[in-house]
């Protein structure tokens, strides 16, 4: 019976989680608890953090990180859509520059970060730039892929019925490529988030990453884990939001 099997799976999953937490607790205590950070040590730190006792500027840092992500993402979407459409609509340009774009994708993005730090300094600007760089590629490539997969027959038929370029775009191409596009937008957001967070951790004066570095530098490992958890909530939350919007967008096309 499928219902019983599903319950078994959930039971095993919870059991595994409990087991891992238990092992972590025991191992964390046996080893230097400062390094091991058993879950029991994290809870009081988490409480202190959320009550703004350990890091009173938590809300400000969180806000800064969110603003950096938002800015990076807006820029990435604008540039990604723009470049993607330009490459997609003009075949020759697309064929020439598309592979060059894809080749850059084969380079781990972190190599650009030192250059960005040189140019923008340690402020928010370098994090936004890095987030932008990371998020731009999947969006542009998704636009390109989306356009390529539109059945050219549909465009021919629309034109035969006298549709102008804008109409062709709105009524034929957009619905056909929406699925791929939305997927790319979602990946782009995830990567923007990662870019900003990585940028902050690799060197920043403010933001969640800076707090994490601060805690780590002072060996306040409990606080460090608590900060990581809060950042994690931010990251997962943004992806959940994106997936909800994706579903909504999917609803529009069906």
């Amino acid at each position: 019976m499928p219902r019983a099997a599903a319950m078994t799976v959930v039971a095993f999953r919870l059991g595994l989680l409990a087991f891992v937490l238990a092992v972590w607790e025991i191992a964390g205590r046996m080893v230097n608890p400062l390094l091991g950070v058993p879950p029991s040590a994290v809870l009081p730190s988490l409480r202190d953090l959320l009550l703004l006792r350990s890091y009173p500027d938590l809300p400000a840092s969180l806000l800064l990180t969110v603003r950096e992500i938002a800015t990076a993402y807006l820029l990435a979407v604008a540039a990604g859509l723009g470049c993607g459409f330009m490459l997609g609509m003009h075949r020759l340009v697309g064929q020439a520059w598309g592979p060059m774009l894809a080749a850059l994708y084969a380079v781990p993005a972190v190599v650009w970060y030192p250059s960005l730090m040189l140019f923008f300094g340690l402020d928010a600007a370098s994090k936004i730039a890095f987030g932008f760089l990371l998020g731009f590629f999947p969006i542009a490539l998704a636009v390109l892929a989306g356009i390529r997969q539109v059945n050219p027959q549909l465009v021919v038929v629309a034109r035969a019925y006298g549709a102008g370029t804008v109409t062709v775009f709105r009524r034929v191409m957009l619905p056909a490529m929406l699925f791929t596009l939305v997927g790319g937008l979602r990946t782009g957001l995830a990567l923007c988030v990662i870019g900003v967070v990585v940028g902050e951790i690799l060197g920043s004066k403010a933001g969640m990453g800076a707090l994490i570095n601060h805690a780590y530098g002072l060996l306040r490992t409990g606080d460090y884990v608590a900060l990581v958890l809060v950042t994690l909530v931010l990251i997962v939350g943004s992806d959940v939001l994106a997936s909800l919007l994706e579903r909504r967008a999917r609803g529009w096309t069906e």
């Binding site: 080749a103 380079v107 781990p108 972190v110 040189l118 967070v197 994690l232």
Partner: protein, 245 residues
């Protein structure tokens, strides 16, 4: 043919424009050096940079081998045992999606500075995409092929060796191609964060020292190496996929 010409023209025009802009003084040479300055810097740092690159690539290679072995075996085991797959899938995907940079400080704390955290972190980055791809491929193996093999009396071992593994080769290759960039990424990040010897560290110190031409030169070097590796893997991928057409 026209495509190639346009690409070449783009690159040359881009470099040319960049050179002119830099010479004209429209950008601060401290931040944006001219391509000619970068080329000269490349010659200057040549030997040191190549040593750094070798260092980084060495760690990456080690991390890569471990990632492939771990990722493929874990992927095959978890993918082929129904219970394991059902229970572990969400965890694996969650771990894949979480930015591992968050645990980097802790890893450095535990493993110190040096090759170990770099390789460890590289494996952490590289094994997940491989594992996820392999898991998916195992799950999607054509059931008919398994039935056929069983009707011919295949033992469990033969099923794994002669049916499952050949069937998932395309996904393994795809994962390996993704994995190499991820491994390199992980190694570079640790080198930048923890000042471990290698290209990552070199890039970081050039940036801190405001040595823009050297920084650009080193960045170009790493990028070229990475692109070259991926191209080689793509080529190997094509060669091994003749039967797929």
């Amino acid at each position: 043919m026209k495509v190639r010409i346009l690409q070449l023209v783009t690159v040359i025009a881009g470099l040319g424009a960049w050179e002119l802009v830099a010479r004209a003084g429209w950008v601060d040479p401290l931040f944006v050096p001219a391509p000619s300055a970068v080329a000269l810097a490349l010659l200057r740092i040549g030997r040191g940079a190549l040593a750094g690159l070798a260092d980084t690539l060495g760690k990456t290679a080690l991390a890569y081998v471990l990632s492939v072995v771990l990722g493929v075996s874990a992927g095959v085991v978890v993918g082929s045992v129904r219970l394991l797959r059902d229970v572990l899938s969400p965890y694996v995907i969650a771990l894949y999606g979480i930015p591992k940079i968050l645990v980097l400080p802790w890893i450095v704390l535990l493993l110190g500075y040096g090759t170990t955290p770099a390789v460890f972190y590289g494996v952490l980055h590289g094994c997940f995409p491989i594992m996820v791809l392999v898991m998916g491929a195992v799950r999607d193996v054509d059931r008919t092929l398994v039935t056929v093999a069983r009707s011919y009396g295949a033992t469990t071992w033969q099923l794994y060796w002669k049916v499952l593994l050949p069937a998932i080769v395309p996904s393994v290759l795809g994962g390996m191609r993704l994995g190499v960039v991820f491994c390199l990424l992980g190694v570079l990040v640790v080198e930048m964060f923890a000042g471990v010897r290698g290209m990552g560290h070199m890039l970081g110190s050039y940036a801190n020292g405001f040595q823009a031409p050297e920084l650009f030169a080193a960045t170009a070097l790493v990028s070229a190496a990475s692109i070259a590796i991926v191209l080689v893997l793509d080529h190997v991928n094509d060669k091994l996929s003749r039967w797929r057409g």
